[in-house]
């Protein structure tokens, strides 16, 4: 399969690879996927007192499209509020990276990772968790 230039670009120069201290109160961590499915994403957000995401980091075990999806997600998260982060949909990632149909699940996983990170942050700080995050999401 040929990869889009944008996937290759993120794969070759992934943005925001790394980890925050997952025990820190201002950090939300999402870990989604499973090794036996061939992809695991860890996505972390760092949130300030105004509820704005000041930084984001990821680590991904998965194909190039999964790496690119999570790399792009961290870029897009910075500067958004937590609420705005939840508005980020996988379809936007599909469009931006030009993901082929067989790779759409990579973008879904990235969306799941964002939601899981936000949920972790909210729960950790005893904030109200919106219903969209409590309903089990399966695909």
């Amino acid at each position: 399969m040929a990869y889009s230039d944008k996937i290759l670009e993120h794969y070759n120069n992934p943005r925001n690879v790394g980890s925050f201290d997952k025990t820190a109160p201002e950090v939300g961590t999402g870990l989604v996927g499973a090794p036996e499915c061939g992809d695991v994403m860890k996505l972390q957000i760092q949130v300030n007192n105004e509820g704005v995401i000041t930084d984001a980091k990821f680590k991904t075990f998965g194909c190039g499209s999964a790496i690119a999806s999570s790399s792009l997600a961290t870029e897009w998260l910075k500067g958004r509020t937590v609420d705005q982060a939840l508005e980020l949909k996988n379809t936007a990632i599909v469009e931006e990276l030009n993901l082929p149909p067989i790779k759409i699940h990579c973008s879904v996983l990235a969306e799941d990772a964002i939601k899981a990170a936000v949920k972790d942050y909210l729960e950790k700080n005893n904030k109200e968790v919106p219903e969209v995050l409590t309903a089990g999401h399966h695909h």
Binding site: Y3, L8, Y11, P14, V17, S19, L31, V32, G33, A34, P35, E36, C37, G38, D39, V40, M41, K42, F58, K59, T60, F61, G62, C63, G64, A66, I67, I102, H105, V108, L109, D112, A116, H138, H139
Partner: protein, 406 residues
């Protein structure tokens, strides 16, 4: 010395046609273009002569008789003809077939089709080495067993099954033994008499011959084996495979086999040396990397390694100028990781993390070192961004984590 890219290291999938083979084939396109079945003019006679020369060369290479060689379009057709042909021909004798879970799809799918039609199929598991358990084979045999079909060399992990022992068991019980020898003919010695093989499949393009031509060996004596044809028509190939013979392909296959036999000793020595060098470099430089398949029963040009904590397709992307294969689900149409690697008892994760290297006649030492250097650095880069590697370094047992399955 600068290495020319892209580098081809996927010789289990196919091999380049040796230029000497192409040269041997060329006159048969334009000058000697006759139909080998034309009995009444020189064009036909010359084509027939060329086919019979190739047939004799191929027969000799596997210690068979010329009359036992049936030309087909490739190993997939040969496997289908052998398995379905025996099932139909021997249906009155029994309805039980024994095969193995690591076979190529060209054996698995015909067996599955027969299963749906009412045949009983025993799918032998493999040991962690990739080899079948001969006691399990013996135990699976019933008085209804009409066919044992076990491959010679595996296309993913290069493991060589004990065909001598399997053949002896089949002979003792009076059961037909077919082997898919696509990965072994021309690479290691194959002797149908010594191994008691009754049917054997292979194709041209895995041994530096052309694509679209293959062989089914069908034993004529002790015992005489018969298969019901799949294709009906002009009754070519002693009635077993109708259709105008692919004269150019057959000439190429004959030449390719001749060269493989001539050069087997030197090729084996050179390729196993290069392969051992690649194995040593990768396993020594990359911690938590594991070889798949028993290294003591392996094709000389074959190597399959799992690099823990990194996913195969992303590895392939990092070595884009090197052509190899991965057992990762992402590289397959089915989105399932390699069934061969899973059958070794590897976790799915290690199946996703595997790379198959297939060295060949034209592989150089410089290419092997280039591939090793590249892989070592890409694995390191990908591990830096792998959450699994991070967890492993934190002392977390990945098998005990409750993953959010999706």
């Amino acid at each position: 010395m600068a290495v020319k890219t892209p580098i081809y290291m996927d010789n289990h999938a196919t091999t380049p046609t040796d230029p000497r083979v192409v040269e041997a084939m060329l006159p048969y396109f334009t000058e000697v273009f006759g139909n080998a079945a034309s009995r009444n003019h020189s064009f036909g006679w010359q084509a027939e002569e060329a086919v019979e020369n190739a047939r004799a060369t191929i027969a000799k290479a596997i210690n068979a008789d010329s009359k036992e060689i049936v030309f087909t379009s490739g190993a997939t057709e040969s496997n289908n003809l052998a398995i379905k042909g025996i099932a139909e021909m021997y249906a009155e004798k029994g309805n039980h077939i024994i095969t193995c879970v690591t076979e190529h799809k060209a054996v698995i799918d015909p067996c599955k089709k027969l299963e749906r039609q009412g045949f009983d199929v025993t799918w032998l598991p493999v040991l962690p080495s990739g080899l079948i358990d001969l006691d399990a084979l013996r135990a699976a045999i019933t008085d209804k067993t009409i066919l044992i079909t076990i491959m010679h060399g595996n296309n993913e992990i290069g493991v060589i099954q004990p065909v001598d022992e399997i053949g002896a068991i089949a002979a003792e019980k009076g059961i037909v033994f077919h082997t898919d020898a696509t990965q072994t003919v021309g690479k290691i010695p194959v002797d149908v008499k010594k191994s008691n093989i009754h049917l054997l499949s292979f194709s041209g393009h895995k041994l530096y011959g052309p694509k679209g031509v293959g062989v089914l060996y069908v034993r004529r004596r002790k015992p005489r084996v018969r298969v019901t044809p799949i294709l009906d028509g002009g009754g070519h190939e002693r009635g077993m495979r109708s259709g105008t013979l692919n004269v150019t392909g057959i000439v190429g296959l004959g030449k390719a086999v001749e060269l493989c036999i001539q050069e087997m000793e030197s090729d084996t020595k050179r390729l196993s040396g290069l392969r051992d060098h690649l194995r040593k470099r990768l396993l020594e430089s990359i911690p938590e990397s594991y070889e798949n398949g028993d290294p003591n029963h392996k094709l000389p040009h074959s190597l399959n390694i799992s690099f823990s904590f990194v996913e195969g397709e992303s590895l392939l992307m990092g070595i884009a100028e090197v052509a190899v294969s991965s057992g990762s689900a992402c590289t397959s149409a089915s989105l399932e990781p390699s069934y061969v690697l899973k059958s070794l008892g590897l976790g799915d994760e290690l199946a996703h993390s595997s790379i198959r290297f297939g060295l060949g006649r034209f592989t150089t030492k410089e290419e092997v070192d280039y591939v090793a250097d590249k892989l070592i650095s890409v694995v390191e880069k990908l591990r830096e961004m792998s959450p699994l590697y991070e967890m492993h370094n934190e002392g977390i047992d990945l098998s005990k984590v409750e993953w959010a399955h999706h």
